[in-house]
């Protein structure tokens, strides 16, 4: 089920991308091989760069580029991010994280991720929706 740039995508990924393309809620998609394969226009506002410029890349690299950290500032391991939990533990997850976009802006972001299982329980990837959170009053 793994895909890479130029290879046909599975139907759940195609449908998820189509959904995301029509949403004003930021979302990104990771395929079953752990590759970031898409984020929508709404996500571009928070990530700071169009997906067409970024292109497909390992989700690990994507997380590094966004310098993901916990709300207290401690770095987040990939497997502890909502997308990482959904990918490795195959369950939905939600967390407040801090990300620095390509535009250099540091944002508090609420993220919810869930795994995409096909009709026969085969794993197709992870869909993550996220949105900018209000910074906590103490600024942490």
């Amino acid at each position: 089920m793994a895909t890479s740039a130029g290879e046909p995508k599975s139907l759940p990924l195609i449908l998820a991308r189509e959904l995301g393309s029509n949403l004003a809620t930021p979302m990104f998609l990771i395929d079953a091989a752990g590759t970031l394969v898409f984020y929508n226009e709404a996500a571009e506002l928070l990530i700071g760069r169009p997906f067409a410029e970024v292109g497909e890349m390992p989700a690990l690299d994507f997380g590094d580029e966004l310098a993901l950290s916990d709300s207290d500032g401690s770095p987040l391991r990939r497997r502890d991010t909502p997308a990482g939990i959904a990918f490795f533990e195959r369950r939905p997850a939600h967390k407040l994280v801090v990300a620095t976009g390509y535009d250099g802006v540091r944002r508090h972001v609420e993220a919810t991720a869930y795994p995409l299982f096909g009709a026969t329980d085969d794993m197709h990837g992870v869909l993550t929706v996220f949105w900018e959170a209000r910074e906590p009053a103490d600024g942490s």
């Binding site: 895909t3 740039a5 130029g6 290879e7 046909p8 995508k9 599975s10 139907l11 195609i14 449908l15 991308r17 189509e18 393309s21 029509n22 096909g118 009709a119 026969t120 329980d121």
Partner: protein, 289 residues
């Protein structure tokens, strides 16, 4: 291999004087493999006359490849004569569901009150299989399925034999609400199995101006089918699953619109009609009727 169309109408059988040229029976295509085996693509009402034609003692094994279980793709099953002949092995392949087996889902139709004969009372030996996403060999031919965008679990089939490829995607909305021609090929539903096909049977239910009122219904407009065919390097397109409201004259208008969107020669796009026969072999692709 040799394909023959026994039904190409979509959604509902539409017999009558205004549909005589292309036919009113719903989806059913016979594929005779060079190795002697027979595949039956879908079990619409066209399956009834097919069953009459192949009701011969030497036909003792059949593979029925169901794309999905909507009635226009299933209704002929109860009238398929080989099913009522003891000793015939009928393998029925269809899309998997996370909830019910293929047999249980088909039994909803083949049981009272919808049908007088229950599945368990059919004399033939019937075996059910989930449509395979990996190639299955039948003699020197192979086939495989891929899930595609429609209403509910639905697959298309790719059949290959002796270097020729036939692809069957009768019910398919590749990109709901979108323009296929604008998308990267790998993100188009159906590209995975349609690419480089010698012959593509494809849903052509709506003319482009009809599509906005039918987004999400699971069927293609002309931009969809021709966009997919162009992006996927298909050599011949057979427009299939004709809308029951499209009479013969309107289908020919639809054909002209499709050819305008086609990157190849005009005879690379055709309207499916009952009795259409296509031979695919080492010499190429030939339409015989």
């Amino acid at each position: 291999m040799k394909a023959r169309v026994w039904g190409c109408r979509g959604s509902l059988a539409a017999p009558g004087p205004e549909t005589l040229r292309y036919g009113g029976n719903t989806s059913c295509v016979e594929v005779g493999l060079d190795g002697g085996s027979t595949l039956v693509l879908d079990a619409g009402t066209g399956m009834r006359p097919l069953g009459v034609a192949i009701d011969r003692p030497e036909v003792d094994e059949l593979h029925v490849l169901l794309t999905h279980l909507h009635m226009d793709h299933l209704q002929g099953l109860g009238f398929f004569r080989p099913l009522f002949r003891p000793g015939v092995d009928v393998h029925i392949w269809g899309p998997p569901s996370p909830v019910q087996s293929l047999a249980d889902r088909i039994a909803i139709y083949l049981s009272p009150p919808l049908f007088p004969v229950g599945l368990a009372d059919i004399p033939a030996r019937v075996t059910f299989h989930d449509a395979p996403e990996r190639e299955v060999a039948i003699g020197r031919a192979t086939f495989r399925a891929a899930k595609v965008t429609h209403q509910g679990p639905t697959v298309g089939y790719r059949i290959e034999e002796n270097g020729r490829t036939l692809v069957y995607l009768p019910d398919h909305e590749p990109l709901p609400g979108g323009r296929v021609s604008d998308e990267p090929a790998e993100w188009i539903s159906g590209h995975d199995i349609a690419h480089d096909a010698d012959v593509l049977f494809h849903d052509a239910q709506y003319r482009d101006h009809e599509y906005p009122q039918h987004i999400g219904w699971g069927h293609s407009c002309i931009e969809h089918v021709m966009g997919l065919a162009n992006r996927s390097g298909v050599r011949t397109v057979v427009l299939f699953h004709h809308d029951p409201y499209h009479v013969d004259d309107e289908l020919e208008t639809l054909l002209a619109e499709a050819r305008k969107r086609w990157d190849g020669p005009d005879d690379g796009v055709r309207l499916a009609h009952e009795g259409m026969t296509i031979e695919l072999d080492g010499e190429g692709v030939r339409f015989e009727a």
